[in-house]
Amino acid sequence: MSQGGRLEDAMNEEVKVVTKQRVAGRPKLLVPQIAGFIYCPGCHEPLAARAIAEVLEKLGMGDRAIGVFDIGCNSFLLGMLDIDAVLTPHGRPPDMATGVKRVYPDNIVFTVQGDGGLLSIGADPLLGALTRAEKITIIMLNNAVYGTTGGQMAPTSLEGQVTTTTPNGRDLARTGFPTHAAEMIATFRGVAYSARGAFNTPKNYMRTRKYITSAFQKQMDNVGLSFVEIICACPENWRLSPIDSLKWIEEKMIPEFPLGEFKNVDRIE
Protein backbone atom coordinates (compact mmCIF):
# COMPACT_ATOMS: atom_id res chain seq x y z
CA MET A 1 0.00 0.00 0.00
CA SER A 2 2.80 2.34 0.96
CA GLN A 3 4.79 4.59 -1.28
CA GLY A 4 6.31 6.29 1.74
CA GLY A 5 7.89 9.76 1.96
CA ARG A 6 11.42 11.00 1.40
CA LEU A 7 12.09 11.25 5.08
CA GLU A 8 10.73 7.81 5.64
CA ASP A 9 13.40 6.52 3.29
CA ALA A 10 16.04 8.38 5.24
CA MET A 11 14.75 6.85 8.44
CA ASN A 12 14.74 3.38 6.88
CA GLU A 13 18.40 3.91 6.26
CA GLU A 14 18.80 4.73 9.92
CA VAL A 15 17.17 1.52 11.05
CA LYS A 16 19.74 -0.44 9.09
CA VAL A 17 22.71 1.31 10.64
CA VAL A 18 21.26 1.40 14.11
CA THR A 19 24.00 -0.71 15.64
CA LYS A 20 26.66 1.74 14.50
CA GLN A 21 24.74 4.86 15.40
CA ARG A 22 25.18 6.93 18.49
CA VAL A 23 21.85 6.90 20.31
CA ALA A 24 22.91 9.14 23.17
CA GLY A 25 22.95 12.94 23.18
CA ARG A 26 20.03 15.22 23.88
CA PRO A 27 17.90 16.77 21.15
CA LYS A 28 17.67 20.56 21.55
CA LEU A 29 13.89 20.45 21.76
CA LEU A 30 14.11 18.26 24.85
CA VAL A 31 13.92 20.43 27.96
CA PRO A 32 16.46 19.45 30.65
CA GLN A 33 14.57 18.07 33.64
CA ILE A 34 16.24 20.25 36.25
CA ALA A 35 13.70 19.88 39.04
CA GLY A 36 14.02 16.09 39.05
CA PHE A 37 12.73 13.47 36.67
CA ILE A 38 9.04 12.90 37.23
CA TYR A 39 8.64 9.44 35.66
CA CYS A 40 9.02 6.12 37.50
CA PRO A 41 12.21 4.16 36.87
CA GLY A 42 11.94 2.12 33.70
CA CYS A 43 8.91 4.02 32.38
CA HIS A 44 8.88 4.25 28.58
CA GLU A 45 6.65 7.29 28.24
CA PRO A 46 9.47 9.87 28.36
CA LEU A 47 11.07 8.08 25.42
CA ALA A 48 8.16 9.35 23.37
CA ALA A 49 9.24 12.91 24.17
CA ARG A 50 12.70 12.10 22.96
CA ALA A 51 11.46 10.46 19.77
CA ILE A 52 9.11 13.35 19.00
CA ALA A 53 11.87 15.89 19.66
CA GLU A 54 14.26 14.05 17.35
CA VAL A 55 11.70 13.82 14.57
CA LEU A 56 10.66 17.49 14.83
CA GLU A 57 14.29 18.54 14.70
CA LYS A 58 14.96 16.37 11.71
CA LEU A 59 11.91 17.82 9.95
CA GLY A 60 12.93 21.33 10.98
CA MET A 61 9.43 21.82 12.40
CA GLY A 62 10.18 22.48 16.08
CA ASP A 63 9.10 26.10 15.89
CA ARG A 64 6.00 25.26 13.88
CA ALA A 65 4.75 22.38 16.00
CA ILE A 66 1.96 22.60 18.54
CA GLY A 67 1.51 19.70 20.93
CA VAL A 68 -1.83 18.97 22.57
CA PHE A 69 -1.42 16.89 25.71
CA ASP A 70 -3.86 14.84 27.70
CA ILE A 71 -4.14 14.33 31.43
CA GLY A 72 -2.25 11.23 32.43
CA CYS A 73 1.35 10.27 33.04
CA ASN A 74 1.72 11.23 29.40
CA SER A 75 0.96 14.90 30.24
CA PHE A 76 4.46 15.32 31.58
CA LEU A 77 5.70 15.15 28.03
CA LEU A 78 4.39 18.69 27.79
CA GLY A 79 7.10 19.84 30.16
CA MET A 80 9.79 17.93 28.29
CA LEU A 81 9.22 19.30 24.79
CA ASP A 82 10.22 22.87 24.03
CA ILE A 83 7.32 23.63 21.71
CA ASP A 84 4.01 25.50 21.97
CA ALA A 85 1.63 23.33 23.92
CA VAL A 86 -1.94 22.95 25.12
CA LEU A 87 -2.96 20.84 28.10
CA THR A 88 -6.53 19.57 27.89
CA PRO A 89 -9.07 17.94 30.18
CA HIS A 90 -8.85 14.14 30.17
CA GLY A 91 -9.54 12.47 26.84
CA ARG A 92 -10.12 15.63 24.81
CA PRO A 93 -6.90 16.28 22.84
CA PRO A 94 -8.22 15.39 19.36
CA ASP A 95 -10.87 18.09 19.78
CA MET A 96 -8.49 20.79 20.97
CA ALA A 97 -5.98 19.79 18.30
CA THR A 98 -8.75 20.20 15.73
CA GLY A 99 -9.53 23.69 17.01
CA VAL A 100 -5.85 24.67 16.83
CA LYS A 101 -5.28 23.04 13.43
CA ARG A 102 -8.30 24.75 11.89
CA VAL A 103 -6.80 28.08 12.92
CA TYR A 104 -3.21 27.19 11.88
CA PRO A 105 -3.44 24.70 9.02
CA ASP A 106 0.27 25.10 8.22
CA ASN A 107 1.51 24.01 11.63
CA ILE A 108 2.09 20.43 12.75
CA VAL A 109 -0.54 19.82 15.39
CA PHE A 110 -0.30 16.55 17.28
CA THR A 111 -1.75 15.01 20.40
CA VAL A 112 -0.11 12.82 23.03
CA GLN A 113 -2.52 10.59 24.95
CA GLY A 114 -2.71 7.44 26.97
CA ASP A 115 -4.68 4.36 26.02
CA GLY A 116 -7.35 5.19 28.60
CA GLY A 117 -7.43 8.82 27.51
CA LEU A 118 -7.87 8.03 23.84
CA LEU A 119 -9.89 4.82 23.71
CA SER A 120 -12.18 5.09 26.71
CA ILE A 121 -13.06 8.57 27.97
CA GLY A 122 -11.75 10.08 24.74
CA ALA A 123 -13.72 7.90 22.34
CA ASP A 124 -16.05 10.78 21.43
CA PRO A 125 -13.28 13.22 20.41
CA LEU A 126 -11.38 10.40 18.65
CA LEU A 127 -14.39 9.33 16.62
CA GLY A 128 -15.19 12.98 15.88
CA ALA A 129 -11.72 13.66 14.50
CA LEU A 130 -11.70 10.39 12.52
CA THR A 131 -15.11 11.08 11.06
CA ARG A 132 -14.23 14.61 10.03
CA ALA A 133 -10.82 13.41 8.77
CA GLU A 134 -9.02 16.15 10.66
CA LYS A 135 -5.47 16.67 9.49
CA ILE A 136 -3.88 16.12 12.86
CA THR A 137 -1.55 13.47 14.27
CA ILE A 138 -2.57 11.39 17.27
CA ILE A 139 0.14 9.66 19.30
CA MET A 140 -1.17 7.13 21.79
CA LEU A 141 0.97 5.57 24.49
CA ASN A 142 -0.32 2.08 25.18
CA ASN A 143 0.77 0.83 28.61
CA ALA A 144 -2.27 -1.44 29.11
CA VAL A 145 -3.34 0.43 32.26
CA TYR A 146 -4.50 3.74 33.60
CA GLY A 147 -1.05 4.72 34.82
CA THR A 148 -1.68 7.97 36.66
CA THR A 149 -4.60 6.85 38.75
CA GLY A 150 -2.81 3.76 40.04
CA GLY A 151 -3.05 0.98 37.50
CA GLN A 152 -6.72 0.30 36.83
CA MET A 153 -7.89 -1.74 33.84
CA ALA A 154 -7.68 0.10 30.51
CA PRO A 155 -9.35 -0.84 27.20
CA THR A 156 -5.96 -2.28 26.24
CA SER A 157 -5.41 -4.46 29.32
CA LEU A 158 -4.56 -8.03 28.40
CA GLU A 159 -6.49 -11.19 29.18
CA GLY A 160 -5.66 -12.27 32.72
CA GLN A 161 -3.81 -9.02 33.47
CA VAL A 162 -3.97 -8.14 37.16
CA THR A 163 -4.91 -4.51 37.66
CA THR A 164 -6.43 -2.74 40.66
CA THR A 165 -9.91 -3.12 39.14
CA THR A 166 -9.30 -6.66 37.89
CA PRO A 167 -7.67 -8.08 41.02
CA ASN A 168 -8.15 -11.64 39.81
CA GLY A 169 -6.92 -10.90 36.33
CA ARG A 170 -8.89 -9.46 33.41
CA ASP A 171 -11.79 -11.75 32.63
CA LEU A 172 -12.72 -11.23 28.99
CA ALA A 173 -16.20 -12.68 29.45
CA ARG A 174 -17.00 -9.92 31.93
CA THR A 175 -14.94 -7.01 30.68
CA GLY A 176 -14.77 -7.39 26.93
CA PHE A 177 -11.64 -7.55 24.83
CA PRO A 178 -8.50 -5.48 24.35
CA THR A 179 -8.98 -2.65 21.84
CA HIS A 180 -6.62 -2.55 18.87
CA ALA A 181 -6.37 1.13 18.15
CA ALA A 182 -3.97 1.13 15.21
CA GLU A 183 -5.96 -1.51 13.32
CA MET A 184 -9.29 0.15 14.09
CA ILE A 185 -8.14 3.62 13.11
CA ALA A 186 -6.69 2.28 9.85
CA THR A 187 -10.22 1.36 8.73
CA PHE A 188 -11.32 5.00 8.53
CA ARG A 189 -11.30 6.49 5.07
CA GLY A 190 -9.99 9.85 6.27
CA VAL A 191 -6.89 8.27 7.79
CA ALA A 192 -3.60 8.62 5.91
CA TYR A 193 -1.39 6.68 8.26
CA SER A 194 -1.70 4.27 11.15
CA ALA A 195 1.11 2.32 12.80
CA ARG A 196 2.09 0.66 16.05
CA GLY A 197 5.59 0.77 17.50
CA ALA A 198 7.31 0.03 20.78
CA PHE A 199 10.29 1.19 22.77
CA ASN A 200 11.43 -2.14 24.21
CA THR A 201 14.55 -2.40 22.03
CA PRO A 202 16.75 0.21 20.31
CA LYS A 203 15.63 -1.22 17.00
CA ASN A 204 11.99 -0.79 17.88
CA TYR A 205 12.74 2.73 19.10
CA MET A 206 14.19 3.60 15.71
CA ARG A 207 11.27 1.99 13.94
CA THR A 208 8.81 3.91 16.06
CA ARG A 209 10.64 7.13 15.35
CA LYS A 210 10.27 6.35 11.68
CA TYR A 211 6.53 5.91 12.20
CA ILE A 212 6.29 9.28 13.92
CA THR A 213 8.20 10.84 11.04
CA SER A 214 5.82 9.34 8.51
CA ALA A 215 2.83 10.47 10.54
CA PHE A 216 4.07 14.08 10.70
CA GLN A 217 5.01 13.98 7.03
CA LYS A 218 1.44 12.95 6.12
CA GLN A 219 0.17 15.93 8.04
CA MET A 220 2.66 18.28 6.36
CA ASP A 221 1.57 16.87 3.00
CA ASN A 222 -2.04 17.52 4.02
CA VAL A 223 -3.10 13.93 3.30
CA GLY A 224 -5.30 13.06 6.27
CA LEU A 225 -5.32 12.06 9.91
CA SER A 226 -2.26 10.14 11.05
CA PHE A 227 -1.90 7.89 14.06
CA VAL A 228 0.94 6.22 15.94
CA GLU A 229 0.38 3.87 18.84
CA ILE A 230 3.41 3.15 21.00
CA ILE A 231 3.62 0.26 23.44
CA CYS A 232 5.18 1.61 26.62
CA ALA A 233 6.32 -0.16 29.77
CA CYS A 234 4.68 0.86 33.03
CA PRO A 235 6.82 -1.11 35.52
CA GLU A 236 5.14 0.65 38.43
CA ASN A 237 1.65 -0.64 37.69
CA TRP A 238 2.68 -3.88 36.06
CA ARG A 239 4.45 -4.61 39.34
CA LEU A 240 7.50 -5.72 37.36
CA SER A 241 11.12 -4.62 37.29
CA PRO A 242 12.14 -2.50 34.28
CA ILE A 243 13.94 -5.51 32.80
CA ASP A 244 11.00 -7.88 33.33
CA SER A 245 8.76 -5.26 31.79
CA LEU A 246 10.76 -5.52 28.57
CA LYS A 247 10.20 -9.26 28.60
CA TRP A 248 6.48 -8.78 29.24
CA ILE A 249 6.26 -6.46 26.23
CA GLU A 250 8.02 -9.03 24.06
CA GLU A 251 6.06 -12.04 25.29
CA LYS A 252 2.62 -10.62 26.09
CA MET A 253 2.03 -7.17 24.63
CA ILE A 254 3.47 -7.55 21.14
CA PRO A 255 1.69 -10.86 20.40
CA GLU A 256 -1.61 -9.13 21.27
CA PHE A 257 -0.64 -5.82 19.65
CA PRO A 258 1.53 -6.57 16.61
CA LEU A 259 3.95 -3.88 15.49
CA GLY A 260 3.91 -2.38 12.03
CA GLU A 261 2.08 -0.08 9.67
CA PHE A 262 -1.62 -0.69 9.17
CA LYS A 263 -2.23 2.11 6.72
CA ASN A 264 0.04 4.31 4.69
CA VAL A 265 -1.41 6.20 1.75
CA ASP A 266 -0.31 9.37 0.00
CA ARG A 267 -3.77 10.27 -1.20
CA ILE A 268 -7.23 9.72 0.17
CA GLU A 269 -9.72 8.88 -2.54
Binding site: P89, D95, G99
Partner: protein
Protein backbone atom coordinates in the same frame (compact mmCIF):
# COMPACT_ATOMS: atom_id res chain seq x y z
CA UNK B 1 -25.15 53.05 9.85
CA UNK B 2 -25.64 49.33 10.12
CA UNK B 3 -27.79 47.11 8.00
CA UNK B 4 -31.46 46.71 8.95
CA UNK B 5 -32.71 43.13 8.96
CA UNK B 6 -35.94 41.42 9.99
CA UNK B 7 -34.54 38.37 11.75
CA UNK B 8 -34.97 35.92 14.62
CA UNK B 9 -32.91 36.26 17.78
CA UNK B 10 -31.00 33.11 16.83
CA UNK B 11 -29.99 34.66 13.51
CA UNK B 12 -29.12 37.93 15.24
CA UNK B 13 -26.62 35.94 17.32
CA UNK B 14 -24.83 35.03 14.09
CA UNK B 15 -24.69 38.60 12.78
CA UNK B 16 -23.52 39.82 16.16
CA UNK B 17 -20.71 37.27 16.21
CA UNK B 18 -19.68 38.12 12.67
CA UNK B 19 -19.62 41.83 13.57
CA UNK B 20 -17.48 41.06 16.61
CA UNK B 21 -14.85 39.36 14.45
CA UNK B 22 -15.59 35.85 15.64
CA UNK B 23 -13.38 33.57 13.51
CA UNK B 24 -14.56 30.11 14.50
CA UNK B 25 -17.89 28.49 15.32
CA UNK B 26 -18.43 24.87 16.29
CA UNK B 27 -21.88 23.44 16.97
CA UNK B 28 -24.02 20.34 17.29
CA UNK B 29 -27.72 20.07 16.41
CA UNK B 30 -30.15 20.70 19.25
CA UNK B 31 -33.52 22.41 19.29
CA UNK B 32 -34.20 25.32 19.81
CA UNK B 33 -30.79 26.62 18.71
CA UNK B 34 -30.45 24.89 15.31
CA UNK B 35 -30.91 28.17 13.45
CA UNK B 36 -27.67 29.43 15.01
CA UNK B 37 -25.51 26.48 13.98
CA UNK B 38 -27.12 26.44 10.52
CA UNK B 39 -26.49 30.17 10.11
CA UNK B 40 -22.78 29.70 10.79
CA UNK B 41 -22.64 26.68 8.47
CA UNK B 42 -24.13 28.87 5.74
CA UNK B 43 -22.42 32.19 6.31
CA UNK B 44 -19.00 31.55 7.86
CA UNK B 45 -17.41 29.66 4.94
CA UNK B 46 -18.49 32.55 2.66
CA UNK B 47 -16.64 34.92 4.97
CA UNK B 48 -13.54 32.70 4.95
CA UNK B 49 -14.09 31.87 8.60
CA UNK B 50 -14.09 28.52 10.37
CA UNK B 51 -17.17 26.33 10.83
CA UNK B 52 -17.25 22.69 11.84
CA UNK B 53 -20.13 20.52 12.97
CA UNK B 54 -18.88 18.80 16.08
CA UNK B 55 -19.58 15.22 17.11
CA UNK B 56 -21.30 16.34 20.32
CA UNK B 57 -21.56 19.38 22.59
CA UNK B 58 -18.58 17.97 24.42
CA UNK B 59 -16.84 18.29 21.08
CA UNK B 60 -18.22 21.79 20.42
CA UNK B 61 -16.75 23.31 23.55
CA UNK B 62 -13.49 21.39 23.18
CA UNK B 63 -13.05 22.66 19.63
CA UNK B 64 -13.74 26.14 20.97
CA UNK B 65 -11.05 25.54 23.62
CA UNK B 66 -8.58 24.69 20.85
CA UNK B 67 -9.42 27.66 18.65
CA UNK B 68 -9.41 30.01 21.67
CA UNK B 69 -6.01 28.61 22.72
CA UNK B 70 -4.83 29.46 19.21
CA UNK B 71 -5.84 33.05 19.90
CA UNK B 72 -8.95 33.65 17.79
CA UNK B 73 -12.45 34.63 18.84
CA UNK B 74 -14.43 31.39 18.96
CA UNK B 75 -17.91 30.39 20.07
CA UNK B 76 -20.55 27.70 20.22
CA UNK B 77 -24.25 27.57 20.95
CA UNK B 78 -26.48 24.94 22.45
CA UNK B 79 -29.47 24.27 24.68
CA UNK B 80 -30.09 22.54 28.03
CA UNK B 81 -28.69 18.99 27.61
CA UNK B 82 -25.82 20.23 25.47
CA UNK B 83 -25.09 22.99 27.93
CA UNK B 84 -24.78 20.35 30.66
CA UNK B 85 -22.35 18.34 28.54
CA UNK B 86 -20.09 21.37 28.15
CA UNK B 87 -19.59 22.06 31.82
CA UNK B 88 -16.35 20.20 32.42
CA UNK B 89 -14.55 22.10 29.69
CA UNK B 90 -16.18 25.39 30.72
CA UNK B 91 -14.53 24.93 34.09
CA UNK B 92 -11.23 24.12 32.38
CA UNK B 93 -11.49 27.24 30.25
CA UNK B 94 -12.03 29.38 33.33
CA UNK B 95 -8.87 27.90 34.82
CA UNK B 96 -6.92 28.13 31.57
CA UNK B 97 -8.14 31.75 31.21
CA UNK B 98 -9.41 31.13 27.71
CA UNK B 99 -11.93 33.60 26.32
CA UNK B 100 -14.96 32.24 24.48
CA UNK B 101 -18.65 32.85 24.03
CA UNK B 102 -21.29 30.18 24.61
CA UNK B 103 -24.95 30.76 23.82
CA UNK B 104 -27.51 28.73 25.76
CA UNK B 105 -30.93 28.98 24.13
CA UNK B 106 -32.83 27.66 27.12
CA UNK B 107 -35.41 24.93 26.73
CA UNK B 108 -37.38 22.98 29.30
CA UNK B 109 -35.93 20.51 31.76
CA UNK B 110 -34.95 18.67 33.75
CA UNK B 111 -33.59 15.84 31.65
CA UNK B 112 -35.06 15.30 28.24
CA UNK B 113 -37.71 17.88 29.09
CA UNK B 114 -39.61 19.69 26.37
CA UNK B 115 -37.76 21.28 23.47
CA UNK B 116 -39.76 24.48 23.79
CA UNK B 117 -39.04 27.60 25.80
CA UNK B 118 -38.23 27.74 29.52
CA UNK B 119 -35.87 29.57 31.87
CA UNK B 120 -34.51 26.77 34.01
CA UNK B 121 -30.76 27.06 33.41
CA UNK B 122 -30.33 30.20 35.52
CA UNK B 123 -28.54 28.49 38.39
CA UNK B 124 -26.32 26.48 36.11
CA UNK B 125 -25.39 29.55 34.07
CA UNK B 126 -24.87 32.00 36.91
CA UNK B 127 -22.98 29.72 39.31
CA UNK B 128 -20.27 28.72 36.88
CA UNK B 129 -21.95 25.45 35.93
CA UNK B 130 -18.94 23.15 36.13
CA UNK B 131 -16.77 22.05 39.03
CA UNK B 132 -14.60 24.36 41.10
CA UNK B 133 -14.64 28.05 41.96
CA UNK B 134 -15.31 30.26 38.99
CA UNK B 135 -18.06 32.41 37.52
CA UNK B 136 -18.89 33.48 34.00
CA UNK B 137 -20.47 36.76 33.06
CA UNK B 138 -23.99 35.86 31.89
CA UNK B 139 -25.73 38.18 29.42
CA UNK B 140 -29.48 37.82 28.97
CA UNK B 141 -30.91 39.36 25.79
CA UNK B 142 -34.63 40.15 25.66
CA UNK B 143 -34.91 40.94 21.94
CA UNK B 144 -33.35 40.18 18.58
CA UNK B 145 -31.51 43.49 18.70
CA UNK B 146 -30.06 42.66 22.07
CA UNK B 147 -29.10 39.18 20.88
CA UNK B 148 -26.97 40.83 18.21
CA UNK B 149 -25.51 43.50 20.50
CA UNK B 150 -24.89 41.38 23.59
CA UNK B 151 -23.05 38.72 21.60
CA UNK B 152 -20.66 41.48 20.55
CA UNK B 153 -20.32 42.63 24.13
CA UNK B 154 -19.78 39.02 25.16
CA UNK B 155 -16.73 38.71 22.91
CA UNK B 156 -15.30 41.92 24.27
CA UNK B 157 -15.81 40.90 27.90
CA UNK B 158 -14.45 37.41 27.26
CA UNK B 159 -11.22 38.91 25.92
CA UNK B 160 -11.11 41.59 28.60
CA UNK B 161 -11.29 39.05 31.42
CA UNK B 162 -9.85 36.04 29.57
CA UNK B 163 -12.85 34.05 30.71
CA UNK B 164 -15.84 32.39 29.05
CA UNK B 165 -18.95 34.57 28.73
CA UNK B 166 -22.40 33.03 28.50
CA UNK B 167 -25.26 34.48 26.48
CA UNK B 168 -28.40 33.01 28.01
CA UNK B 169 -31.46 33.35 25.80
CA UNK B 170 -34.55 31.18 25.49
CA UNK B 171 -36.59 29.61 22.73
CA UNK B 172 -38.93 32.60 22.53
CA UNK B 173 -36.19 35.23 22.24
CA UNK B 174 -34.35 32.89 19.87
CA UNK B 175 -37.29 32.41 17.51
CA UNK B 176 -38.90 35.83 17.74
CA UNK B 177 -38.51 37.78 14.51
CA UNK B 178 -37.85 41.48 14.92
CA UNK B 179 -36.12 44.34 13.18
CA UNK B 180 -32.44 44.48 13.99
CA UNK B 181 -29.85 47.09 13.17
CA UNK B 182 -26.71 45.03 12.61
CA UNK B 183 -23.79 47.26 13.42
CA UNK B 184 -20.27 46.64 14.67
CA UNK B 185 -19.96 48.01 18.20
CA UNK B 186 -16.63 49.40 19.38
CA UNK B 187 -15.84 48.71 23.03
CA UNK B 188 -12.26 49.96 23.19
CA UNK B 189 -8.80 48.49 22.88
CA UNK B 190 -7.73 45.11 24.25
CA UNK B 191 -4.22 43.74 24.82
CA UNK B 192 -2.66 41.39 22.23
CA UNK B 193 -3.16 37.69 22.83
CA UNK B 194 0.53 37.13 23.33
CA UNK B 195 -0.22 34.06 25.46
CA UNK B 196 -1.83 32.09 22.59
CA UNK B 197 -0.20 29.01 21.03
CA UNK B 198 0.73 29.61 17.41
CA UNK B 199 3.96 27.67 17.02
CA UNK B 200 7.15 29.28 18.35
CA UNK B 201 7.99 30.75 14.94
CA UNK B 202 5.08 33.17 15.31
CA UNK B 203 6.23 34.57 18.68
CA UNK B 204 8.47 37.63 18.60
CA UNK B 205 10.60 36.28 21.44
CA UNK B 206 10.72 32.79 19.88
CA UNK B 207 9.78 31.30 23.24
CA UNK B 208 7.18 28.60 23.77
CA UNK B 209 3.66 29.32 24.99
CA UNK B 210 1.64 26.89 27.09
CA UNK B 211 -2.10 26.92 27.59
CA UNK B 212 -2.95 24.79 30.58
CA UNK B 213 -5.97 24.28 32.77
CA UNK B 214 -4.18 23.31 35.96
CA UNK B 215 -2.86 26.65 37.15
CA UNK B 216 0.02 25.67 39.34
CA UNK B 217 1.13 22.31 37.89
CA UNK B 218 3.10 24.05 35.16
CA UNK B 219 3.86 27.10 37.30
CA UNK B 220 1.54 29.51 35.54
CA UNK B 221 0.89 30.53 39.11
CA UNK B 222 3.45 30.01 41.83
CA UNK B 223 0.94 28.14 43.99
CA UNK B 224 -2.63 26.89 44.08
CA UNK B 225 -3.52 29.76 46.40
CA UNK B 226 -2.12 32.26 43.91
CA UNK B 227 -4.39 30.79 41.23
CA UNK B 228 -7.43 31.05 43.49
CA UNK B 229 -6.54 34.61 44.48
CA UNK B 230 -6.34 35.53 40.83
CA UNK B 231 -9.73 33.94 40.12
CA UNK B 232 -11.25 35.72 43.11
CA UNK B 233 -9.82 39.02 41.94
CA UNK B 234 -11.28 38.44 38.50
CA UNK B 235 -14.73 37.65 39.93
CA UNK B 236 -14.65 40.77 42.11
CA UNK B 237 -13.66 42.96 39.21
CA UNK B 238 -16.43 41.52 37.03
CA UNK B 239 -18.94 42.20 39.80
CA UNK B 240 -17.73 45.76 40.28
CA UNK B 241 -17.49 46.70 36.63
CA UNK B 242 -19.86 44.61 34.57
CA UNK B 243 -23.26 44.77 36.26
CA UNK B 244 -25.91 45.74 33.73
CA UNK B 245 -29.66 46.02 34.16
CA UNK B 246 -32.53 48.09 32.84
CA UNK B 247 -34.66 49.96 35.33
CA UNK B 248 -38.18 50.53 33.97
CA UNK B 249 -40.47 53.01 35.78
CA UNK B 250 -38.37 52.54 38.86
CA UNK B 251 -38.19 56.12 40.22
CA UNK B 252 -41.33 55.95 42.36
CA UNK B 253 -41.97 52.21 42.20
CA UNK B 254 -42.99 50.44 45.38
CA UNK B 255 -43.73 47.09 43.72
CA UNK B 256 -40.70 45.94 41.81
CA UNK B 257 -40.77 43.16 39.28
CA UNK B 258 -37.54 41.29 38.55
CA UNK B 259 -37.15 39.31 35.34
CA UNK B 260 -34.92 38.61 32.33
CA UNK B 261 -35.31 37.35 28.78
CA UNK B 262 -38.82 36.68 27.47
CA UNK B 263 -40.48 37.00 30.86
CA UNK B 264 -38.97 40.48 31.22
CA UNK B 265 -41.03 41.55 28.21
CA UNK B 266 -44.09 39.98 29.75
CA UNK B 267 -43.31 41.72 33.05
CA UNK B 268 -42.89 45.07 31.30
CA UNK B 269 -46.33 44.69 29.78
CA UNK B 270 -47.73 43.89 33.23
CA UNK B 271 -46.05 46.99 34.68
CA UNK B 272 -47.77 49.09 32.01
CA UNK B 273 -51.12 47.50 32.91
CA UNK B 274 -50.50 48.19 36.60
CA UNK B 275 -49.49 51.79 35.96
CA UNK B 276 -52.68 52.31 33.94
CA UNK B 277 -54.47 51.07 37.04
CA UNK B 278 -52.61 53.52 39.28
CA UNK B 279 -50.33 50.91 40.85
CA UNK B 280 -46.74 52.06 41.30
CA UNK B 281 -45.04 49.09 39.69
CA UNK B 282 -41.59 49.05 38.15
CA UNK B 283 -39.22 46.51 36.62
CA UNK B 284 -35.61 45.56 37.08
CA UNK B 285 -34.70 43.71 33.91
CA UNK B 286 -31.50 41.74 34.27
CA UNK B 287 -29.12 42.30 31.38
CA UNK B 288 -26.36 40.53 33.26
CA UNK B 289 -27.84 37.60 35.17
CA UNK B 290 -24.39 37.44 36.74
CA UNK B 291 -23.23 39.84 38.10
CA UNK B 292 -26.62 40.26 39.79
CA UNK B 293 -27.93 43.66 41.03
CA UNK B 294 -27.97 42.69 44.71
CA UNK B 295 -27.20 46.22 45.90
CA UNK B 296 -29.88 47.91 43.80
CA UNK B 297 -32.50 45.47 45.06
CA UNK B 298 -31.30 45.78 48.66
CA UNK B 299 -31.64 49.57 48.53
CA UNK B 300 -35.18 49.29 47.19
CA UNK B 301 -35.97 46.78 49.94
CA UNK B 302 -34.67 49.25 52.55
CA UNK B 303 -37.02 51.87 51.12
CA UNK B 304 -39.95 49.54 51.75
CA UNK B 305 -40.47 48.10 48.29
CA UNK B 306 -42.11 44.75 47.60
CA UNK B 307 -40.80 42.35 44.97
CA UNK B 308 -42.32 40.10 42.37
CA UNK B 309 -40.08 37.77 40.43
CA UNK B 310 -41.38 36.61 37.05
CA UNK B 311 -39.51 33.62 35.67
CA UNK B 312 -40.36 30.58 33.58
CA UNK B 313 -38.99 28.08 36.09
CA UNK B 314 -39.95 26.78 39.51
CA UNK B 315 -37.99 29.64 41.08
CA UNK B 316 -34.30 30.31 40.64
CA UNK B 317 -33.91 34.09 40.21
CA UNK B 318 -36.11 34.44 43.28
CA UNK B 319 -33.34 32.99 45.45
CA UNK B 320 -31.01 35.80 44.42
CA UNK B 321 -33.72 38.38 45.13
CA UNK B 322 -34.36 36.87 48.57
CA UNK B 323 -30.63 36.91 49.21
CA UNK B 324 -30.52 40.58 48.19
CA UNK B 325 -33.40 41.74 50.41
CA UNK B 326 -32.12 39.81 53.44
CA UNK B 327 -35.63 39.36 54.83
CA UNK B 328 -36.42 43.07 54.66
CA UNK B 329 -39.12 42.77 52.02
CA UNK B 330 -41.81 40.49 50.71
CA UNK B 331 -40.72 38.54 47.64
CA UNK B 332 -43.40 36.94 45.46
CA UNK B 333 -43.20 34.71 42.41
CA UNK B 334 -44.94 34.13 39.14
CA UNK B 335 -43.47 30.85 37.95
CA UNK B 336 -43.64 28.18 35.27
CA UNK B 337 -46.66 26.78 37.16
CA UNK B 338 -48.54 29.98 36.25
CA UNK B 339 -48.35 29.37 32.50
CA UNK B 340 -51.63 29.92 30.64
CA UNK B 341 -51.91 26.22 29.73
CA UNK B 342 -50.28 23.22 31.39
CA UNK B 343 -48.56 21.81 28.29
CA UNK B 344 -45.05 22.67 27.14
CA UNK B 345 -46.63 25.28 24.87
CA UNK B 346 -47.81 27.24 27.88
CA UNK B 347 -46.43 30.73 28.50
CA UNK B 348 -46.41 33.20 31.32
CA UNK B 349 -48.69 35.96 30.02
CA UNK B 350 -49.02 39.60 31.17
CA UNK B 351 -52.60 39.06 32.47
CA UNK B 352 -51.39 36.48 34.93
CA UNK B 353 -48.62 38.76 36.17
CA UNK B 354 -51.04 41.68 36.45
CA UNK B 355 -53.42 39.49 38.50
CA UNK B 356 -50.57 38.71 40.85
CA UNK B 357 -49.63 42.39 41.10
CA UNK B 358 -53.19 43.25 42.12
CA UNK B 359 -53.23 40.41 44.61
CA UNK B 360 -50.05 41.41 46.46
CA UNK B 361 -49.92 45.21 46.11
Amino acid sequence: MGERMFIEGNIAVGWGAASAGCQAFFGYPITPQNEITEWFAREFPKMGRIFAQSQSELGSINLVYGAAAAGVRAMTSTSGPGWSLMQETMSDMANAELPCVVVDVQRGGPGGGPIRHAQQDYFQCTRGGGHGDYRNIVLAPASSQESCDLVQLAFYLADKYRNPVVVMTDAIIGRLRETVEVEKIEFGPLPDKDWAVKGKARHKDGKRRIVDHSGDLLRRYPSYRALLQSLEQKMKQMQESELRYEGYKMEDASLILVAYGYTARVAKEAVNMARADGIKAGLIRLITAWPFPYQVIREKACQGGKFLVVEDSLGQVIEDVRFAVEGRAEVHLVSILDRHIPTDGGMILPDKVFDKIKEIQ
